[in-house]
Symmetry: C2
Subunit: 308 residues, 2 copies
């Protein structure tokens, strides 16, 4: 038996600028916290590599946007930065990374609405990244397409649906993943009720086309669904798009339909911890050309690894 992965937990608390450190193996939340009774709160999941959190600013900005969508007052970014830095440093000092190639920490930021009538509860949690995500980066994943039930215009007309916010109410995302696992698949790509490609339950969809242009040069195009379809703005997609553009890729934004996925030279799900996971099959059908997929994955993974 292995002992549970070590977790460093620190609550944001004005009395403790570097965080009020608490024991994650002991109860720390009230059963009346609206985070648990109503899934009423927001979160971010970040990756720290070699002790440095990737895309910190983008995550803090998105956390702020999610909180605003929920009318939730949260600590300012400077307060988060201090507690995050202290939690990561503490984890590395208490658990020196054995394998520099796997020196990855998952850093979660969570804010719940707290107990009715009281202040929000906010914490930072640092724990080792699991091996499953690293494995899927290498082997690739099989996905199924599932209807998300919303049409692609709803986000704009119904802000109370919180479609652009990363809330704690993830039961549907988890149910969709269980549905995929029962069918022998690893993950899900959601479609809108009007047939547009949206996102994964915990990731953003990317696809690539490689074409020879008339003058014989190779044009590589990286494409993602358009944001106004009610999906979460992917911090990883944003960072990779910037890096790919600098490396000469053309960029494109949806609307995308399932056949765009089927016709692509490669498809990926990208997220902050698993990073770039190549999609091998969608609904059982092989996607792209293995040799091209492998080459593009290597190039984009290299670009993505280099971002901060």
């Amino acid at each position: 038996m292995t002992s549970p992965a070590p977790v460093v937990l620190a609550f944001l608390d004005p009395a403790f600028p570097d965080g009020r450190v608490a024991d994650a193996t002991q109860p720390q939340l009230l059963v009346t916290d609206l985070g648990v009774t109503r899934g009423d709160g927001v979160f971010e999941t970040m990756l720290a590599v070699g002790g440095t959190v990737r895309k910190m600013q983008a995550h803090l900005d998105r956390l702020g946007g999610s909180a605003a969508a929920l009318d939730l007052a949260i600590p300012d970014q400077e307060a988060w930065r201090r507690v995050i830095a202290a939690a990561v440093a503490r984890h590395r000092s208490e658990n020196p990374p054995a394998d520099p190639a796997a020196d990855e920490l998952v850093v979660k930021l969570v804010v719940t609405r707290g107990v009715e009538g009281e202040a929000p509860t906010a914490w930072v949690q640092a724990s080792p990244a699991g091996a499953a995500g690293r494995r899927q980066r290498e082997t690739g994943i099989d996905v199924i397409l599932l209807d998300r039930g919303y049409d692609s215009d709803v986000a704009e007309r119904a802000p109370w649906l919180l479609l652009g916010a990363k809330t704690l109410s993830y039961a549907v995302n988890m149910a969709a993943l269980r549905h995929a696992h029962k069918q022998g698949a690893d993950d899900v790509i959601f479609l809108s009720s009007d047939g547009r490609v949206l996102e994964g339950p915990t990731s953003t969809v990317l696809l690539a086309h490689v074409e020879k242009s008339d003058d014989g040069t190779t044009v590589k195009r990286l494409i993602t669904p358009q944001l106004d379809s009610g999906i979460l703005a992917g911090t990883s997609q944003g960072a990779l798009f910037a890096a790919a553009k600098a490396a000469g890729w053309e960029l494109g934004y949806g609307p995308l339909e399932p056949r765009d996925l089927m016709d692509a030279d490669a498809v990926w799900l990208i997220s902050s911890v698993r990073l770039l996971a190549p999609v091998n099959r969608i609904d059982g059908k092989e996607i792209g050309t293995p040799s091209v997929q492998k080459e593009l994955t290597a190039e984009l993974s290299g670009l993505f690894a280099a971002i901060h």
Copy 2:
């Protein structure tokens, strides 16, 4: 300053058949519980009047249905019944009800998926019913209509959306209520994206028509949206329908559109704790005839109060 309302908390635990009693004012949950990190769990909210829980069987059945939709293994009904009875008895013995007319306890049942790879967390929580709900039964409420984003067929074709399950992922319901409060309204009636009347964020919609038939007798008809539109099966609606039928009412089931609400002689939102709340205005427009509404509310409230 008043002290916080007394809460009795008891976890379901095979080692404690009457529940493992815990202090609700102290932290009892791990921050890694999937109930809080993913809103991954189910719940029920019941009302105990004079120490007796109303509609216990219907609530336990619905809890079981919700858990099945989430592939969540939960304790059996006998275990719940013992812990519920003990928690209600303990609350009444520790806090003898001062006012017999307000001898109401809210009894919450909650099951979360627990920490990844471990057993679900399940508890019963008993606390005094707030005055706000009792007030709204008397004064009635103003509601607004909001788009729920789903069409009325989605529940059947996409079970992973968990539309018939009462999950802890209630962030959208809470956001819709905040949206209503900002507009000066008390509550919400959701519509499907194809314009059908669905439900309230925490209640079921009812409407009534009163007609004189050809032979001069009065026909009273009680109507609710049809269940296959992806709404939660209301335990209160079910119980009231049975009682109204026995009292000579005709019953009807949707599809309903907003104009059916506007044309009704009375509209209510019904739920287990607030009970039958008459709707005075929808999107600012007065509903029904005050005298008829008052009479029908009195009759149905009497029928509903008598159920167990």
